[in-house]
């Protein structure tokens, strides 16, 4: 199979990253004010219980593990629940570092911070997945605010929107968004290819203005072998630089192959005190969800963050007393001045 075709097939496969054999995994972090985290991993599948090498999120025998079976209409599902208390996020990061599961290719880090802001104390918890490519193409650069909302929306929410009222409108929106997502992902791949190509052939800046047309061609046309690149660069240029072009494509191919190993799962977080901001989707109980999917961290770092606040009652009291004290002093002085 030719490299370019392989890349496209790999890319197309990304949309269906969630293979039927992979267990449905939800990892829930309950963040405590002191920075400790109660982490629960729930894996569900109708297939056989996977080996630790197939776990999307790492856990081992130090966790409290329970296994359960649930009879369904067609198949019986098994559910594996693992829970562990982490004293700090650094312990979670150690687990990520020693991960030998299906997502070991991902560089994941968790962080927690607490900032005193006098009237309030702000708590922030985040989990970040580093990008897979060398170049950075942010989704915000290609998609607008509304499109971004659909891009990051959990699949369950998209499904419910498409099944509810205005389903036709949402289906149409989804189709538009799918093609925009393709353009975004192709932009990342094209940027990476250009990066690799310029490293091999530094003087060849000729291809730079052709980036946009290459992305459009790749995203919208049927890809057949070399014709796309010939159409983009011209036959003469392509034949002259064929070796470099293919070598750069091989580099992108190997990066994409690594990205393809990543398996989908859902990350959930419950923050202490009142939730004030997040880039995920929160339900009424304050639990926030993020889909962890390759498309989010191919060409950009994917940070799933949430912020909550605690009101400092004592600071409110001190400030109130201080303001009243100063106003009283000033009023008293102005009264005396008038009297004298």
């Amino acid at each position: 199979m030719k490299t370019r075709t392989k890349i496209l097939l790999l890319f197309a496969g990304m949309i269906f990253l969630f293979s039927c054999d992979d267990p449905e995994t939800v990892v829930t972090n309950i963040v405590h004010p002191d920075g400790s985290v109660t982490r629960t991993i729930v894996m569900k599948s109708t297939k056989k219980i996977p080996d630790p090498a197939q776990y999307q999120v790492p856990f081992d025998s130090t966790w409290t593990i329970s296994k359960d079976t649930i009879p369904g209409e067609k198949d019986t599902s098994w559910v594996l629940t693992a829970t562990k208390e982490f004293r700090s996020v650094s312990e979670i990061n150690l687990e990520y570092k020693s991960d030998s599961g299906s997502n070991k290719v991902l560089n994941r880090t968790a962080s927690f911070s607490k900032h005193f802001r006098w009237f309030t104390t702000i708590y922030r918890y985040s989990e970040k997945v580093d990008r897979m490519l060398n170049v950075t193409v942010k989704a915000e650069d290609v998609l607008d605010e509304e499109e971004l909302k659909y891009f990051y929306m959990p699949a369950s929410m998209l499904d419910s929107l498409q099944a509810g009222p205005d389903s036709l409108l949402y289906r149409e929106k989804k189709n538009i968004n799918d093609s925009l997502e393709n353009i975004y992902l192709f932009t990342g791949l094209t940027e990476e290819w250009i990066h690799q190509y310029l490293m091999l052939n530094p003087d060849s800046t000729y291809i730079l203005p052709m980036k946009d047309s290459l992305v459009k061609l790749a995203a919208n046309s049927d890809f057949d072998g070399d014709s796309l690149l010939i159409r983009a660069f011209g036959n003469t240029y392509y034949e002259t630089n064929k070796v470099f072009i293919n070598q750069a494509l091989n580099e992108v191919d190997s990066l994409m192959s690594i990205a393809m190993l990543a398996k989908f799962y859902t990350c959930e977080t419950v923050m202490p005190f009142k939730l004030i901001a997040t880039n995920g989707f929160a339900d009424k109980s304050g639990k926030i969800s993020w889909p962890v999917d390759s498309k989010y961290f191919i060409s950009q770092d994917y940070e799933m963050w949430a912020e909550s606040k605690k009101s400092n009652a004592w600071a409110w009291a001190v400030s109130g007393v201080f303001v009243v004290f100063v106003i009283s002093g000033l009023t008293r002085r102005s009264k005396r001045k008038r009297q004298s």
């Binding site: 009237f119 901001a277 100063v326 000033l330 002085r333």
Partner: protein, 182 residues
């Protein structure tokens, strides 16, 4: 000269010898002490406490500093809460509706029912026998959940409806069993 000087000394000596005698010396001491006490008592007046407390208002640099600090506090309060409100407004667009509960996320309600009725996988067959007690327990639990919840969605109403039918049926069965045994 000497004469005048002698006269002067003699007068001084005579004055020294004839000291004036105080009438009611003890009373005088008392009245002085009373006056002193009254002065110190005057210092404890609420008005004087306020004077002392707000003395800073008479010192220009301290007055200006405290006024500036007060405005800074008010400004910081307004700034912090307007930025927090903006964040919370944004958050509202990211709220989603979910039907499942926290640790039960991977279970559907049908699966929960199944789990309750069939505690082990060994009892799964194509045709099943469910003990009435287990079924009633399950439906009772659902009714309790229903009562706890303020929302009555169509699915919950259906469960209640099923419960009522089952309860009526089981009562009817019990009555039939009794009649048969008699």
């Amino acid at each position: 000269m000497e004469n005048t000087e002698d006269k002067y000394r003699r007068l001084i000596d005579r004055l020294r010898e004839n000291k004036p005698e105080l009438e009611g010396a003890d009373d005088l001491t008392d009245s002085i002490m009373r006056k002193i006490r009254r002065e110190s008592e005057k210092g404890m007046n609420p008005g004087d406490i306020l004077n002392w407390l707000f003395a800073w208002a008479g010192i220009p640099w301290l007055r200006n500093s405290l006024t500036a600090a007060m405005f800074a506090t008010i400004f910081f309060f307004i700034f912090q809460f307007s930025s927090l409100n903006r964040k919370i407004d944004k958050l509202e667009s990211r709220l989603i509706q979910r039907e499942y509960n926290y640790y039960q996320s991977p279970y559907s309600s049908a699966e929960t029912m199944g789990k309750y009725i069939f505690p082990s996988s060994s009892s799964i067959n194509d045709s099943i026998n469910v003990s009435r007690k287990d079924l009633m327990n399950l439906l009772n639990e659902y009714e309790k959940l229903e009562l706890k919840s303020t929302e009555t969605g169509p699915s919950k109403k259906r469960i209640l409806w099923i419960h009522r039918i089952f309860r009526t049926e089981s009562q009817a069965v019990r009555t039939t069993e009794k009649t048969t045994s008699i």
